[in-house]
Subunit: 355 residues, 2 copies
């Protein structure tokens, strides 16, 4: 076995989810992640924890969703599983990123609404999302599998305690800020983050990580954003997304590619038209866009904004975060723009002022 | 997709587990059963049921078990999953039947003891065990994959209502019997089944099926049995097993091959030394031994006896069935022997007297 797979497993079990004896752990992966699953089972066995592994397959989901009449009910057994678990690890390992492309967006959105309590339950536990390199993800990144493996493990096999320490200055400043403004290309957007908690993301919930993020006050977002990087939601790729916000709500939207997917996303529920997250990427080890949000949003010199659900951990006392069945991140390049906290420039031309 | 895979899925969902709208269903399979999983997801979607699929891999289990110190705890999340489900389908689809061979039998037995409540919970639901043809199972049967597929689907794609009807005469007679005696080769064993319920097994819990079975009174088994067909328990193959029973307990045991595995099995717990099942195979579509109990025990002109747990459904009012963490079937050929109920011959030379 590639020793990097084993090191990845150790990081997930020790740093990301801090697995202890008798912890009940839910793993979720596709067959292409078999090696990582074997490595994880070994690490979990060593620690005396109890794994159960869910078989994740978009091809199987497609067969299910296309056959269903759309009147979904909550899978109570799946909810019970997550209620009773201590930690959950989801391993992205798709065999074909287009597998859901012919499932109607409305079907996907209806299913998301019904299964929302399961997502919420999972997010209330120690949880982590990670990546196993597969041919499908490599192809999507325009890389050979060998080169993609180097990219993935380069981003993951790091000293995460050191990353956490380096990000602390940004977290403190964002946490103290009331207003955030981002100016870059066609983008000029501002929002209040007053009373919200900024979080230093250093590989607990996302592996790889490398970002500091918070939640906007839902009604406060004003301005225009042009997301110049492609994004994929439920297997559908959108490009050149433009959104105009007034009183926190998307009042104008357009996409250069796949506008229908954007419309379906915005129509999921009321919260899908508001922002739930503002994130600032810091990870300069991620040196290229790979059309995979888990990596792209962590890239240094970028900002990402998410339509949909806010993370509870960002929402301060007496504050309300945005609520929705979805959480969809969109990225913009700030390498030639600037970020301001309360009118003060904190990043310009991609460099933080304290660097 | 091979249309036989789709037909198999329909039989499992309609005949075996009678899936209804909103049923919460647990599927369990290895990656080699991917096609059948896709077909099952389609059938479950059509019926508006809710699937969750567990990733079953002996290679992953081996990594876990070998790393563990042996002081296992009950996976509460897995128990919660089965408690909350309506039906469970386990699909045998191994990639390597020797994958657990270097795990100590004591480790496997210790794990079985701890996870017993999960097995019991699953058996309290609508459940079915079935087979997807893989190269590992084909090789184990000394068949090419194509020939093994023909064998598997020949045994499975049948009119199960008609099978059920044909088996009813045997069920009635076994249900009414007090004493059963089996004489074949070196075997001469008798036991009481007084007050126990005989069950007509026609594809609800095992697919394929084709047997009538009951539970012995645990203390009543007397005599000697020579199992002339190989058997596999937790990946370990035993051959030529001989057992002598007195007052229901195994007092002498030997195996021509892998006696250590037999000893580990018998030492699992107290109930592992007593019989939990007497079954009579009726399925003449299964025309060869394939070293796979799901098929072998259903073969016409055979009897099987199981060490370990009795099925609750066999145990009559005021009766006690055998209890254990294990249930291990062993087969003997009756094609040149005879079966007696209360001193009356019901099968001789492999033919039932009413045939």
């Amino acid at each position: 076995m590639d020793p990097r797979v084993e090191e990845h497993a150790r990081i997930l079990v020790d740093w990301s989810t801090d697995i202890q004896r008798d912890d009940d752990v839910v793993l979720s992966a596709g067959p292409d992640a078999h090696e990582l699953l074997v490595a994880l089972e070994r690490e979990l066995g060593t620690r005396g924890a109890n794994p159960i592994t869910l078989y994740s397959s978009d091809e199987a989901s497609r067969a299910y969703l296309k056959a269903h009449d759309g009147d979904f009910s909550l899978p109570e057994h799946t909810l019970a599983l997550y209620e009773a678990c201590d930690a959950a690890l989801h391993i992205r390992s798709d065999a074909n990123l287009a597998a859901l492309n012919d499932v109607p967006g409305k079907t996907l959105a209806a299913r998301s609404r019904v299964t929302k309590p399961i997502i919420e339950e999972r997010l209330s536990k120690r949880w982590c999302l990670t990546q196993h390199p597969t041919n499908a993800h490599a192809q999507n990144a325009d890389l050979s599998l060998a080169a993609y493996r180097d990219f993935v493990y380069g981003a993951i096999l790091r000293d995460w305690a050191a990353v956490e320490e380096r990000q602390e200055e940004l977290r403190k400043r964002l946490d103290a800020a009331d207003e955030v403004r981002v100016v870059a290309g066609e983008t000029d957007v501002q929002m209040s983050v007053d009373g919200m908690h900024a979080i230093n993301s250093s590989g607990r919930h996302n592996m790889p990580s490398g970002e500091v993020f918070t939640a906007p006050i839902p009604d406060s977002v004003e301005g225009t954003v042009h997301f110049d990087k492609p994004l994929i939601h439920q297997g559908r790729q959108m490009e050149g997304v433009r959104l105009r916000f007034a009183d926190g709500v998307v009042v104008d939207s357009a996409a250069e590619r796949n506008e229908e997917a954007l419309d379906d996303l915005l129509d999921t529920d009321e919260g899908a038209r508001r922002l739930g997250e503002l994130g600032i990427g810091t990870n300069r080890e991620i040196d290229r866009f790979t059309k995979n949000m888990l990596f792209d949003e962590k890239m240094g010199e970028t900002v990402h904004l998410a339509l949909g659900r806010a993370y509870d951990a960002n929402v301060g006392e007496g504050r309300t975060g945005n609520d929705s069945a979805v959480h969809v991140d969109m990225i913009l390049d700030t390498s030639e723009g600037r970020i301001e906290f309360d009118g003060e420039v904190v990043q310009e031309g991609g460099r933080f002022v304290w660097e």
